[in-house]
């Protein structure tokens, strides 16, 4: 085959030159016309590193935010459940406290006043002239029998562990000394309460002493009584819940 310079081969050098020229021009094209920094390559690299570091940090933050939100949601659900329980327990506790005499209460009822006789003659039976702790006990028991809902003696609320006793001639309720006159207040159906108190079958001793020696025994119905809450403690050193 004859090599023809007139053919394609003749253009090859020109084509190569044009290609190189174009490539050089293209390289020139994209380069920024002026770089102000002295070490452009290293700065770009450190910038890229910073960006990568920041992006990694962002990723981490997002992840822990996601985790914390999940944990929070769980706590919120648990707390909501607890709140619900808390509300129920609180309501139940209030009910139980009401029953135990731990709340101040008001309502209609009766007031019974008991006092030693003012007649302190030498001839009178001194025992008969006085109000004894068992008199108070009997009146309180009778008031419970009449369906009373709350009872206080001289402002001392009667609770399940209360005892009415005497030390010498001093009457004690809830370990508090009381002195006459004794005012027994009971919230409840005042008609039923008065009926029982006035029933001749009950409190025979007091009623007889009232007639004979002038011991004071007075029953009054009242529209509103306010009985204070029991302020003492309920020791539970021996009693344990359940078997």
């Amino acid at each position: 085959m004859e090599f023809k310079l007139d053919g394609i081969g003749r253009y090859i050098p020109i084509l190569v030159i044009a290609l190189i020229f174009g490539a050089l021009l293209g390289l020139q094209w994209k380069s920024p016309p002026a770089r102000l920094t002295t070490a452009p390559g290293t700065e770009l690299e450190s910038g890229a590193l910073t960006i990568k570091r920041l992006e990694a940090e962002q990723e981490e933050l997002k992840e822990s935010i996601g985790r914390t939100r999940e944990a929070l949601d769980e706590y919120r659900r648990e707390l909501a459940d607890n709140m619900e329980m808390l509300k129920e327990i609180n309501a139940e506790l209030e009910r139980q406290k009401m029953m135990a005499g731990l709340l101040t209460v008001e309502g209609p009822g009766v007031q019974v006043t008991l006092d030693d006789s003012s007649i302190q003659s030498a001839t009178a039976d001194s025992n008969g002239c006085l109000i004894h702790e068992y008199d108070l006990r009997d009146v309180v028991n009778l008031l419970w029998l009449a369906g009373s809902e709350a009872i206080a003696v001289n402002g001392e609320r009667i609770v399940a562990t209360s005892s009415i006793y005497c030390v010498g001639s001093t009457v004690m309720v809830n370990d508090t000394r009381l002195s006459p006159p004794y005012l027994i207040q009971a919230v409840g159906n005042s008609i039923a309460q008065e009926d029982v108190l006035r029933n001749p079958a009950y409190l025979e001793g007091i009623k007889r002493r009232a007639e004979l020696y002038g011991v004071q025994f007075e029953v009054n119905r009242t529209g509103t009584l306010t009985l204070p809450a029991y302020k003492g403690g309920f020791p539970t050193n021996y009693a344990q819940l359940g078997e």
Partner: protein, 225 residues
């Protein structure tokens, strides 16, 4: 002429091809590491927004962590546990749960009045009785020991017959001493009732039943805030 213009157009095509080749090469590099090829001004913008964004995220994280620690404290159940403990205590007092513990057992056989039983209960309470039962009937604040007719005793409306057994949970020593002291209630009762047999036994452990009747309903009394 014809071959000249062909030469020229070919040269132009090659020139453009060279340009395209470089452009292609550049974009290739751009996608591989766009960061390196981005201008430092662009990088600064990216860094700026990242720093800002991360600061916001960190703030959010701090808020969430604060909330979390608050919840962790609140969810520690101490409040709830305290309430349940208090509730159980009041339930013991109200006789609405079974209780067990040490105490004394007082048996009464023979003639005895209802008011005397009431006095014995008062004595036990005075000696620190925490929970009481008579013949297996739990006593509450509202329990009434009554005698609708002679020789009959009812507690909380239920009739009981002798012997009467009083169970009291509390300090056994204190209660026994209080009951048996000379000139005490039992001594007085034994003197007053001929044929009355009383025994006081200390118990290491007794179980008192729950008050089974309906709890009191308050129709007249209402709590004051």
């Amino acid at each position: 002429m014809k071959s000249r213009s062909a030469q020229l157009s070919l040269a132009i095509v090659c020139f453009l091809l060279g340009l395209l080749l470089v452009a292609q090469f550049r974009t290739q590099r751009m996608t591989d590491s766009s960061l390196l090829s981005a201008s430092s001004a662009d990088q600064l913008l990216i860094i700026g927004s990242l720093v800002e964004n991360n600061a916001r995220l960190r703030e959010e994280m701090e808020t969430l962590e604060e909330q979390l620690s608050e919840y962790q404290q609140a969810a520690r159940r101490t409040v709830l546990e305290g309430l349940v403990e208090e509730l159980n205590k009041v339930r013991i007092i109200n006789g609405l749960v079974e209780v067990s513990g040490a105490g004394v057992e007082v048996s009464l056989d023979g003639p005895i009045g209802v008011l005397d039983v009431q006095d014995l209960i008062n004595e036990l309470r005075n000696a620190g009785a925490e929970s009481l039962a008579v013949n297996g009937e739990r006593l509450t604040l509202y329990s009434v020991i009554a005698s609708p007719e002679d020789g009959v005793m009812t507690i909380n409306g239920t009739q009981f017959s002798r012997p009467y057994v009083l169970q009291a949970i509390g300090d056994p020593e204190t209660m026994e001493t209080a009951l048996l002291r000379s000139g005490g209630l039992i001594a007085t009762l034994e003197r007053n009732y001929e044929g009355l047999v009383v025994s006081v036994i200390k118990r290491e452990r007794m179980v008192l039943p729950v008050y089974k009747k309906e709890a009191i309903e308050f129709l007249y009394a209402s709590p004051v805030e």
